[in-house]
Assembly symmetry: C2
Homo-oligomer: 257 residues x 2
């Protein structure tokens, strides 16, 4: 380090109490898809789930908690969250977004801990294999409503509630839905994903709105083959449906106009 040391400037952190750590907590969401029993080629049942791990140590030993861990002096909190997510759940290349700080005195029995909360969004496929690992019993995907009813460690239920509110807001105001969708998707897949995260969402004429270039100014574009023919999917329907992708257009919302 070429920086001057603390001593050279008569500066010391010792007279003041300093935090005992800067942990991160990560609310990692995924949407699971399950075939409707009976009907093939029907829209699947989708569920929003959050990843929880079971604590092995004091405090809150045996309780379920959000994954996370302590930030190191050599990394940012974002890097810490990426690292912990990889270490604890084996997941990388996730949409990972900081959203809030939790600093109430006494929130952690281990000491003065100011925690940094993230939301992560990941596709179900990215978790495959992970679910059957040797630690499977200690890592669970829990439906969000169920998780909110559980007694979680620390203030993790508050954090989870806030995280859920955040991704609901993000789902309506940004194109974050792409984190839950393949590169190409049909309109009804998109509609289902939005409804899974935001159950109150309902739009008649959803197709009209989202595909009319004029009003939405093209957040979606039709997928076409090299010869210009439309790309279609019949994963969930008899009649093949047009596939779309998100453009990188990000609409600016306003309450004034």
């Amino acid at each position: 380090m070429n920086e001057p040391t603390e001593d050279e400037h008569n500066y010391s952190t010792k007279p003041y109490r300093t935090p005992d750590g800067a942990p991160t907590d990560i609310a990692m969401f995924t949407i699971t898809s399950e075939e409707k029993p009976g009907a093939k080629k029907a829209l699947p049942i989708r569920q929003l789930k959050v990843m929880l791990i079971r604590r092995r140590k004091w405090p809150f030993e045996g309780k379920w908690a959000l994954p996370g861990g302590f930030t190191r002096p050599t990394e940012t909190v974002q890097q810490c969250a990426e690292r912990e997510l990889l270490e604890e759940t084996g997941v990388a290349n996730v949409h990972l977004e900081y959203f809030q700080v939790y600093s109430s005195p006494g929130r952690d029995p281990r000491g003065w801990m100011i925690s940094h909360a993230f939301v992560a969004l990941v596709q179900e496929q990215a978790l495959e294999g992970r679910q059957t690992s040797e630690e499977a019993s200690e890592v669970r995907l829990v439906p969000v409503e169920e998780a909110l009813a559980m007694e979680l460690a620390f203030d993790h239920r508050d954090i989870l509630g806030d995280a859920l509110a955040r991704i609901r807001q993000l789902m309506m105001t940004t194109t974050i839905a792409k984190a839950f969708l393949p590169e190409l998707f049909t309109i009804s897949e998109l509609y289902q994903v939005i409804q899974t995260v935001v159950p109150t969402f309902e739009e008649k004429n959803f197709i009209r709105k989202v595909t009319s270039t004029q009003s939405r100014q093209g957040i979606l574009e039709e997928a076409r083959g090299e010869d210009g023919s439309p790309l279609l999917s019949n994963r969930y329907s008899q009649r093949p449906a047009q596939l779309y992708r998100f453009t990188d257009y990000a609409p600016e919302l306003s309450i004034y106009g």
Copy 2:
């Protein structure tokens, strides 16, 4: 404390390096109004300004910086920001909103400091008297564009840039404009405030949009006297203008419908 101590559980924070502090930094914005030279009863010149203080100690001695200070173990970072704002600038009862964490290693020469950044919005009148105090030379309201061109302490220019982006977004998507306005205001005052924060904002027919109950679903309501007569203002115009107030309706924005 009735909590179990660390020792009882064989837990100690000592083996790990812990942060040297959890400071807060506050970007406090205000809009100054100045009468147009010459014309009376004309719309005032409004400017967005940010509060800076001059540092007296190492590091960055003599440099301008955002106000802020170290969080104590007995308070949340929000409470810290409120306290520091009061101590350093004499301002209380402000709209104060957390917005980001800054945790790059090396961002503070004093050690490992994870900083919590807030935006504050305050009306010019709330700062009156403060500007002529004995420390006046050490606290300044600087036009934002000027501040962004200055060499500020730490990473405060980055923080200020992010804070500005944040209040621009808040200005367009929430009713935060009320923090810069009196309880009752005219449509053109509102329009001016929005334009001062977001210079690119331009809406022909602003009155129509913002007062049509149908489309905006009433974020504003007309102010009326006890006898039901409309309350008017001629502060900035010859012809008296209708006064409005914000309702507590908060529209939910969506890119999908």
